[in-house]
Symmetry: C2
Subunit: 455 residues, 2 copies
């Protein structure tokens, strides 16, 4: 007997039930992207390593899955090189391709390669798996999907506004209550500038973020420990204590940041976005949150993050504006703004809150019991008509199968209705239809059957 | 300036227009699979090499994309091993994982791993990319999609019947005229048995296949050259000359194969399938074709193949019945039957015949021209309503953009309607709506706009 097969660690099979749930998530996001004029692209799973390397930092480079060249790659190596056993150096001789690590770098590569075909602003979305040789752990996989939407080639804040509306619409459709947090890199830069500590943005936001947990004194203590001067800490007090509505926060910030051009620009941008959103009657709260500090190496304007209100889990969606998507590939001045839905975490939230709509979890709606060849031949013709009406239907294939086995099949596949056609039914042109949930059973015509199931 | 980026040879980017076409193909196939009770699974892109190796022959093993192990794989190798430069042998030390080469082996692995969760018969479909390190050429890629459906754990011929109906339905939906060819491995075995040349099935079918092109004499000459005896060739004459309806062909075969148990079984199976199908009013012709010899190493019963009638291209769909899907992984007696749609070839056929329905190629249905901040703020609220009605709509994001640029954007993205809202329209609560195809323009309310676009 062969060895029992397995799959690589950190990867997953998806069963029909899991696929139905995942498709519900992807289809919901995709449909909302479409409503907002985003168009799909796909890029190959493999990219040249020259495209991927150096884009994710040294740690990222190590997490790339590299694909071994075909052919005789050894002949090009000297004995010395081989015996050096320098894995990192030799990998570059053995491998020219790697699996994509995210969707952003392949998108940047796509924009540069196809810039003459693209009409800017380019609103693209992309839903594809990515691969990372990370240490697998709960909720972290080596293969997982990203669902990104970006607008590139436009500086307009309308894009930020629409992306926030997309976030609100998607989570409203999922029935997940969320708080949408928004910040602006320029406000953070302004704060650091005003207090004279431009290089300590991250330390400051991290410390402020602890206010609820540790109290004001401890926040100030931490700031001091991070080497921030007493004078600067004093200036920070209105910001640490920032509270109230978004409008109230912005009023305080405008005051504190009065001397910082970039800070005021950030306040102005945030004000524009938040005011426009307030007229659009979103279902979820949008909160200006200065402690939001994701992607500070990357984002240059608005920064977003979404937290689920009813489940303890990290961020389930995030994004922001960046200035220079494609510079690394030699194309300057392509700015953009994007969001990324965390499909795997959304999956966990929907599971935990049991929010999957019943009809998202479909198998067949109707199973015909197989009573034998003559009856099956009759059922096949009925099936053709039922399917033409758009009903997902099947007949149990095995002629001799016991009723119990057929009903188990119906139950395990969560079939909603079972149809029985024996001699009597064939003579009368009827079908005995059983509702598997209520147990109710009655003889109906094909037309009646279609109406009952489609109801 | 950085080097101009490219993608690995044999791989492709898909633009929004190409994605729309591809999604039309995948969605059509997927929806038909659903109507017949097939359920989707997905497996990881990476499989253990122990799962993949030895399943596709020596040639196939060479075409696997192998993924380099992380970490220090060199330390486990002796100097001797390294200096041997034996690429094939050392690859097994460097690599434990590979990219999937088809969907069948991962499916077999899935069935074995999950056999205790699966209710048989298991009707699964799978639409995912596969990777092969083949020499790229026109129409042959290193990354391409397969769209497979299989029923495993059932010997019933109802499965064959339904798969043929699926093929007919899918190509009817595509509006591609096809001939569905069907054969049976058992008939071929019977023929070889009857003429006493059991090991020459392939030679015989290849020779017979040339009848139309080279004539009977040359077919017989080729058979003789292949070492088939004159007596056997004489016995083959009724089969080489086989013609007429499927029923007529079966009658001749029953006669010729009278002494072969397996041959008669093949005739009986084909008869059962073809008779059932004749009652189901398929749109495309089904033809019993003894020269159909695909997958003879693999298929044990029915064999199918689909040819497009209006385009010169190879088979665009194929499949058949197999006896032992999972034996190689230690699980015996799992028989099944499956089909695989060739999405890339179907893409080419639809392109060549220009058969894509207009609404499959969608971008936004509606673009709002951006006249400035005040007008845009007004349009955002209209957009919310329009999208709630299910219309794919957007506003040009940049406030200062020239009209010409905005209209170019609309044209290049094939937007169907353009909406203009200036001071007058805002005062009157109307929208100037322009039909981009006819050029017609009129002032409408939101409700009228929705009705016009949804029509």
């Amino acid at each position: 007997m062969a060895a029992k097969p397995g799959i690589p660690k950190g990867t997953r099979d998806f069963s029909p039930a899991e696929m139905a749930k995942r498709n519900y998530i992807f289809d919901t996001i995709r449909n909302v992207y479409h409503l907002y004029g985003f168009q799909q692209i796909e890029t190959p799973a493999m990219e040249n390593l020259s495209t991927l390397m150096g884009k994710y930092g040294d740690e990222g480079d190590k997490l790339l899955f590299k694909i071994q060249n075909s052919g005789d790659y050894f002949s090009k190596l000297t004995d010395e090189e081989l015996l050096s056993r320098d894995a990192a150096k030799l990998a570059s001789k053995f491998c020219e391709k790697g699996l994509r690590y995210d969707l952003t770098v392949p998108f940047a590569r796509y924009v540069v390669m196809h810039r003459n075909e693209i009409t800017f602003p380019f609103k693209r979305y992309q839903i594809q798996p990515v691969w990372r040789a990370d240490r697998p752990q709960k909720g972290r996989y080596r293969e997982f999907y990203q669902c990104d939407a970006d607008v590139v080639g436009s500086d307009s804040l309308l894009n930020e506004i629409e992306l926030m509306e997309i976030v609100d619409t998607v989570f409203t459709k999922f029935d997940i209550r969320v708080c949408i947090k928004i910040n602006n890199r320029k406000i953070l830069s302004g704060i650091a500038e005003v207090i004279g500590e431009s290089d300590k943005i991250v330390d400051i936001t991290v410390a402020i973020d602890k206010l609820d947990k540790v109290g004001l004194d401890n926040v100030n203590k931490e700031l001091s420990e991070k080497g921030i001067s007493d004078e600067a800490i004093a200036k920070l007090q209105p910001i640490i204590n920032l509270s109230g509505t978004n409008a109230e926060k912005l009023t305080v910030l405008k005051d504190v940041l009065a001397s910082s051009e970039i800070g005021l620009k950030g306040v102005e941008e945030s004000q524009f976005i938040l005011e426009a959103l307030s007229t659009l009657e979103l279902k979820n709260e949008i909160e200006l949150d200065l402690t939001l500090a994701r992607g500070l190496n990357y984002y240059t304007g608005a920064i977003f993050e979404v937290k689920a209100l009813d489940v303890e889990i990290g961020s389930i969606t995030g994004g922001g504006r960046y200035d220079n998507l494609t510079g690394v590939f030699g194309l300057k001045d392509v700015s953009g703004v994007g969001i990324s839905f965390g499909a795997d975490r959304i999956y966990d939230v929907l599971n935990q809150l049991e929010l999957y709509p019943k009809d998202a979890l479909f198998g067949s709606q109707l199973l015909f019991i197989n009573f034998g060849e003559k009856e099956a031949a009759y059922c096949l013709k009925v099936l053709t008509k039922v399917r033409k009406a758009g009903i997902r239907a099947e007949i149990y294939p095995d002629f001799g199968a016991k009723m119990k086995k057929q009903m188990t099949y119906a139950n395990n596949n969560q079939v909603a209705f079972v149809a029985m056609v024996g001699e009597n039914e064939m003579a009368e042109g009827k079908i005995s239809l059983k509702n598997m949930e209520t147990g109710e059973q009655k003889a109906v015509t094909i037309e009646e059957l279609v109406n009952i199931i489609k109801k």
